[in-house]
């Protein structure tokens, strides 16, 4: 912990934030809405506003709470409860939106198949299949162009979608460029950038091969 971090923690101990104080009616000395807006923008902050921060705001519950709530870095509130509320809000919003069209699974599914479909319209799906027979092994290299993006990577097992599987794309230098977990349909979306990648599936040691169709 450096001196700045310690100082920040000391402030949390010495000047605890009472979030509801931010809702108190302002006095004449308090930070105005315009001053708060300038602070959020972090530009063109008047020297009188900066002076107010070190004078009035340090002593005023309302201003300290308002500044801490809006621009402070201190963790505030119940993050777990907030996550649950946001989960519900997102679900509610997304369910009102139309379902995306799903492309049909290819028929060439042998043991383990990774299929990638360029969007939109899945015009020319390429099939990357995985076999444990290394004699015919080739790396599951896929070339993704700008026009393909975003790409849906679909991972399928013989008995259904490969859900909650981690798909990894390595760039040409062998560096991990993407890591994503498949959803219930065995799909994960890759938003780019375009390029040549090698596919890997976490927990699967056999080679992933590309089979052109």
């Amino acid at each position: 912990m450096n001196a700045d971090q310690i100082l920040h923690k000391l402030a949390a101990l010495a000047l605890p934030v009472h979030p509801q104080a931010a809702l108190q009616q302002p006095s004449d000395e308090c930070l105005t809405d315009d001053e708060m807006t300038a602070l959020v923008a972090r530009e063109n902050v008047a020297s009188s506003t900066l002076d107010k921060l070190t004078g009035h705001a340090m002593e005023c519950d309302r201003c300290w709470a308002l500044v801490s709530l809006v621009i402070g870095e201190q963790p505030l509130g119940d993050l777990e409860a907030a996550r649950a509320q946001v989960d519900r809000a997102i679900d509610k919003h997304l369910t009102r939106m139309p379902q995306p069209e799903k492309a049909a699974l290819g028929e060439t599914l042998i043991k383990l198949v990774m299929q990638w479909m360029p969007e939109p319209a899945s015009a020319q799906p390429a099939i990357a299949s995985a076999y444990r027979d290394t004699s015919t092994a080739r790396p599951a290299a896929i070339n993704i162009t700008d026009q393909d993006l975003p790409v849906t990577l679909r991972f399928a097992l013989p008995d259904g979608p490969g859900a909650q599987v981690t798909v990894i794309l390595l760039d040409q230098q062998g560096e991990e460029a993407f890591r994503g977990e498949t959803d219930d349909q065995g799909e994960v979306h890759f938003w780019g950038p375009a390029g040549s990648y090698t596919c890997r599936v976490e927990g699967y040691d056999g080679p992933l091969l590309q089979e052109t169709s």
């Binding site: 700045d4 101990l13 340090m58 801490s68 809006v70 809000a89 975003p150």
Partner: protein, 215 residues
Amino acid sequence: MTLTPRQQRIVAQGVKQDDRRATEALLKAFRPLIDSLVARLGAACRDEDETEDMAGEMVIWTIELTKQWKPEVRNLDGYLKEFLRYKMLDRLKQMRRERARPSWHDEAGRQAAQQADPASTPAEAIEDKLPDDRAELAILQAVSSETAAQVIRRLNEELTDPYLRQMLFFKLQGWQNPEIAQVMGLDTRKVQNDWSRRVVIPILRPMFEQFGIAT
């Protein structure tokens, strides 16, 4: 998940077309920011219903702001961080107005005003709303809030230069040097040097030692 500038443009394009997957990707990418802002505003909310409404609004703001985003001007990260904070300010202003709406002359007004005024709120009610960041303060376990207050008070006394006091204010809020430099209209290096040479080395470190705070 952090979106690269190119990914931001693709996702925003999809969001503008009301594409569900793009909207999902946007919300997933900005979940930490949304969660944090909802937690902050939620702490000021009256009850769970109000927090739920506000969480819904935060999700919609994120989507609507993304629809208005101009990629040629700035990146989506900075834009959303700034504009969601404006929305947060507006929301707080609205909450303040709602709390104050009933007239002081009637009993309902008196109760509403008391609810909005922590000074008249029972201590245990405020305690419920305080952030639980005790785990983060483990390193400072030995430091009491009294000692912390003493350190802050002493710093305020010792730093007579308004410029250094302003820096102190932002440091207390947890800001980094580049943010402080931006808001004060200075070069980051100057802020870094002045803070280190004029505050940390001559004042802060000796003060920490004096109060038995290990660095």
